[in-house]
Every structure is written in structure tokens, then in C-alpha cells.
Point group: C2
Amino acid sequence: MSAGFLLVLSGPSGSGKGTVSEALMEKNEDISFSTSVTTRTPRPGEVNGENYFFTSIEDFENMVEEEELLEYAFVHTNYYGTPKKFVFDEIEKGEIVLLEIDVQGALQIKKRYKEAVFIFLLPPTMDELRNRLVKRDTETEEEINTRFKNAFKELDFVGEYDYFVVNNEVDDAVESIEHIIAAEKLRVKRHKDIKKEVLAEKKGDL
Amino acid sequence: MSAGFLLVLSGPSGSGKGTVSEALMEKNEDISFSTSVTTRTPRPGEVNGENYFFTSIEDFENMVEEEELLEYAFVHTNYYGTPKKFVFDEIEKGEIVLLEIDVQGALQIKKRYKEAVFIFLLPPTMDELRNRLVKRDTETEEEINTRFKNAFKELDFVGEYDYFVVNNEVDDAVESIEHIIAAEKLRVKRHKDIKKEVLAEKKGDL
């Protein structure tokens, strides 16, 4: 009596969605991680179908046309997208599929697949978000300012999400997401015929 | 950043909602238990406003007319109902209010107050439900048969609920409800302006 679903973990740069996502996967081996499709060249050691599904630009654009992607984006010189087939196959098997994605991507998915569970990861404060962007030391000051301004705007979209989780401590954020997963497994709407399931079950099997 | 809500725990006779409800309250002292209003005479030791709000038939019928009740029923010779005021005052304070009620009552509430969280408690099997009804030893065989048939019919209404919880072991059922409560506290829709809350918070306060 288990029903899978897509869990979209999203939030602005600096909310810590990458770290939380990794910690969540480490603690919950039964969660599938959504594998993206990309047109970029595989790096040494990257395995097709594991790190990414690697594909040509032509094939990618075909997928877009055929509506085979839940969302996609063009970043620098490459396409990245989320293939429906992988996600839906896993859900069909009763799996929970985690997709960690920026706010723009999550909003695209919301339009195409409302059945997903949308979590908005929040920084405890905007000061803390800026600290995290600075600490990463991967962007110039100008880039940090841009990301900060974007984060500020992206907070306007929290109303499109189902849940919010404040990422003050990674462990607490992971625990909150675990509660959400446990609750969503018990959603009536994900089960076609609970009465039939109860009537069919032998004692203790449900 | 806490928002209260009404948690309706419901299910057929023999699903164990009374036992689960008690165990849940014992473990979670911060949950309020919804106090019913009734026209029956207080038993020795019962305190007005604690066990029940005791009232006259006239006042009760006035409350019905003024739509001051979330649900009510006439059982044997007495009225029982759930006063809106108590529930809404607690919610306003940010409390979680637990209401344990039969399926008919829950469906009444669903019509009047969709914002509540509705949990349907299921027996692991219909055989087990019958065992529980027999074990209580409070009803005649005929009454047990009636309750069993009603339980069977009431399963048709599970689709009106948000969540289902299988009561195989009381502790597991309580844990499932705790997950649901934790998740529902993180619902975006219960918070008017999360952006404002983030911007207003000092580090670590959210």
C-alpha cells in the first residue's frame, strides 16, 4: 500500500538546497534522485544514466518538442532538463523521487505536473543567505549581489509551493522533510481505492 | 512562526480512534483537545468547560440556529456538538486542536470548515475491526452487527479525508499522526506572508 511521488526541493541560491538534498539522500537510501538530461560533454568518470543522461542538442530539442521534459533550462552553453519518463517510471514503482532545483525550474514543473510535492527551502534570515553566498567563494561580488537580489524576488513565489522549510540547521531541515514525506505517503488522494485495499488485506499486511 | 489548525481524527467504530487519541494527547501535551457542548446532565465530578460545556436544550438549539457549532448530533436523549468559538479561539492562539469524532460528524465539519485536517483511522483488516467490537463487550451481538455494517459503509467516505492512518499498533498510528501534524505545521497556505516573516526575523528566530 505504497504510492510514489515527486518531491521538488527548491529555493533560492544560498538556501542550502544542495547540502540538505545530499544529507536527506544519505539518511534515506530508499529515495530516488531524479537524473537530469543534458547536452554538455560528460566529464571524466561521469556515467550516462547515473550522473546525467547525456544527449545531443538535436535529441534534446526533440524532447522539448515532444513534451518529454518536466522542465528545462539553457545554462551558459548547455541544455539541462528533467525527463518525465525517468520520474514517472520510478513513481509507478512506488518510489519517492527527489528533484533538487532552482525556483524557476520548480515553477515550470508546477505548471506541468501539479501532483508533485513542492517544498520551498528558506534561509533563516536574508543576512544568513548573503553570508552563505559569500562563504561559497565561487562568485564575484557582482554575481553575489545579483543572486541576492534574485533570492529576494524569488521569495515572492513561496505561495506556489505546498510546504516551506527553514534551513537553520541541516539536520533539522532534513527531519522536517522526512515528516513531510511520511505525511504525504498517507495522503488519501494518492490511493485509488483504500476500501478495496482494506478489504483485500490479510491481518497485519496493510 | 506557528499556525494552529483543527485536526479531525475520525473512523468507524472499532478503528480505535479513542485509544489512539488518548495516546496522542498523552505524548503531546501541547495539543488541545476540543471540548464538546452537551445538554446531558453532568455526572458527579464532571467540570463545566473541562469535560464538557453543559447547557440547556434551549441554549443548544439556539447555538444550532446561530451556526455556532461545527457539527452536532442527537444521541439517545441528548444533544452533543462542537462549538466553533472554542476551536477558533485555540487556533487563533496557534494551537493544534484535536477532535475525535465519528464519520458522520467529520463529514458535517468537512462541509462547514474545509480548513481542518481530516484523518481517517482504518482498522488493519475488517476481521480485526470485528474482533475489537466483540472484545469491548459493551454491545449485544445485534449492535455489533449493526456497527460492523456501518463501518463497512463508512469506508466509502475515506475519499473525503486528507489522510488515512492504519491502526495496526497504537504507537505506530500515533507516530503517523505526529508526522502529519509536523508536516501540516509547514504548510505554506497556513501562513499569510512568509516573505515578510523571513525579512522580519533575526538570525535563528524563524
